[in-house]
Amino acid sequence: MSAQRGDILLDIDDLSLEFRTFRGAVKALNGISIKVRAGEIVGVVGESGCGKSVTMMAAMRLLPKGSARITGGAVRLFGSDPMKLSERELQHVRGRQVSTIFQEPMNALNPTRRIGEQVIEVIRRHQRLSNAAARQKAIGLLRDMLISEPERIMQAYPFELSGGMRQRVLIAMAFSCEPKLIIADEPTTALDVTVQALILSLIRQKAVSTGTAVVFISHDMAVVSQLCDRLYVLYAGRVAESGTTASVLAAPAHPYTRALIRCLPGLAAPKQPLEQIPGTLPDMLNPPPGCLFRARCREADERCVEVPPLSAIDPSRRAACWRRIEETEAA
């Protein structure tokens, strides 16, 4: 199956999911819809607890079986439902067609084995290559990550490398099987800004040259704005707003997106109070009816007791806010 640019690789449709805890079921996702097409870089942004990681983990079926329960909606990953695949079929999809890059590069590498062995293992697990051929491929991949002496790095153990170097190794591994989709979950959050800039430009270059789609999960609006073609802003397990990066940043439609951008210190006059979002996330054990941002929203009115559907407000954008929906209908 060769993906054409524009094919939908990942289609998350109205997905709801809860975690069972001793206090009751935490409604982590409340109808999330995300589509990722071949070759595009999609940002998923939001604050902690908004469900950005859980959504992607659920789509990859990486959540622990007992505690997480899908209560509605569907996921299609490369046209099939990951929840219905056998473990063997799933193994083929993960790694070969989709791969992941996580936040902590140290946890993703085996500390007792050399970098080279680990990269070669990943390559040979999914591709019919001799050890020597896999080795050549590994060195080439590390070189693409601008690692200057790949042969030496192949011999090193993870602890001998810096955080940025380890993350570059993991990106090389993620791209090693030429996946059609990479899910990167806060891959630069643990790194310094100069290293982050390098990692982001490597991900972007490699994704563009190989045509791999990337889902980039982040809490940092500025990072996402620099990297992604499109973005989804999540709040309390729902999509608040989605659209092309340029249109969302130029004129954020959802009050939550607006507040999220305005509360950043870089945009305010020095020493002036920053815009803050009053209150906290609703209790996800018993989420209130209607729009989940209602209690913290300064534009909320009586319509907001009903859940606003994610609706097109202009050709490049969708928002889940009654105000914007009304304005669009009026126009």
């Binding site: 200057s148 310094d192 100069t194 870089g266």
Partner: protein
Amino acid sequence: MNSDQPLLALEDVEVRYRVTSGWFGGADVYAVNGVSLSVAEGETLGIVGESGCGKSTLGQAIVGLTPITAGSIRLKGADRAQSNTHIQIIFQDPQSSLDPRLPVWRLITEPLHIRGGYSRTQLIDRATELAVSVGLRPEQIDRYPHEFSGGQRQRIAIARALAVEPELLVLDEPTSALDVSVQAQIVNLLLTLQAQRKLSYALISHDVSLVRHVADRVAVMYLGQIVEAGLAQEVLDGPRHPYTRTLLEAVPSFERPLATIAPRAGELPSNRKLPTGCYFRDRCPSATAGCELPQILKAVEGARTVRCHVVTGALEAPR
């Protein structure tokens, strides 16, 4: 006490320590290598740099949590050890800096409890007052830290620091563990408290936009040295030192496309073995003859000091 002495003055402060790890014995870590700086009353000094640049060690040295191996730290002209000026520190992670077994009122008044001489009622009254001043509700002081969100815990940590009426707060990445909307609340609280209480802050952060927002002056650190210092907006809007430029270009921004950073500029050298000459030489895009010599921090114009022989007095044309 002399009133024109700055509240805090560091002179040629060095912090070295020995780590004993592995099979090869110890190694010396050169964490802070000759830092001189000052903080005036009511002023905020931002200390910016990447991980491993020594900014947190410097903060700990200021409050006395880490011994200094050379140099001096003076408060209002008196040696830190002899001074009765109070300094407190706020750490990054309010989860691990609050004792989970103590109720909030006890946590907040812990410094007073240690000082001694207060009755339980006095402590509770003081805790209530402090809790309200950082935006907590009076009835919340009987609860335990785990019942609070990250932002509220940071408020508790701030209330505890205020208990001894400090004149200087060292803020070590105070909002790095928080979501941006909560960060805004804490930043606003810090600005309000500073205005109300004439506090001085030493704000240690990797977040350039936060420092630009809060600080009056800024010092940029690299491998335990200050490489550039001056008025916060001047330095951060028009960096002169090549490192400051590299750092600022890498900061994610809504206004710029993704920066292309050369990989050699991406990795910080080890602080186990200091480079000779300019510490930034190996990563510097404009390294040239003369960089093999040790660099001094020299005044270039106005309040600006830069540790680079290439940078000369006159401002270059804006790029």
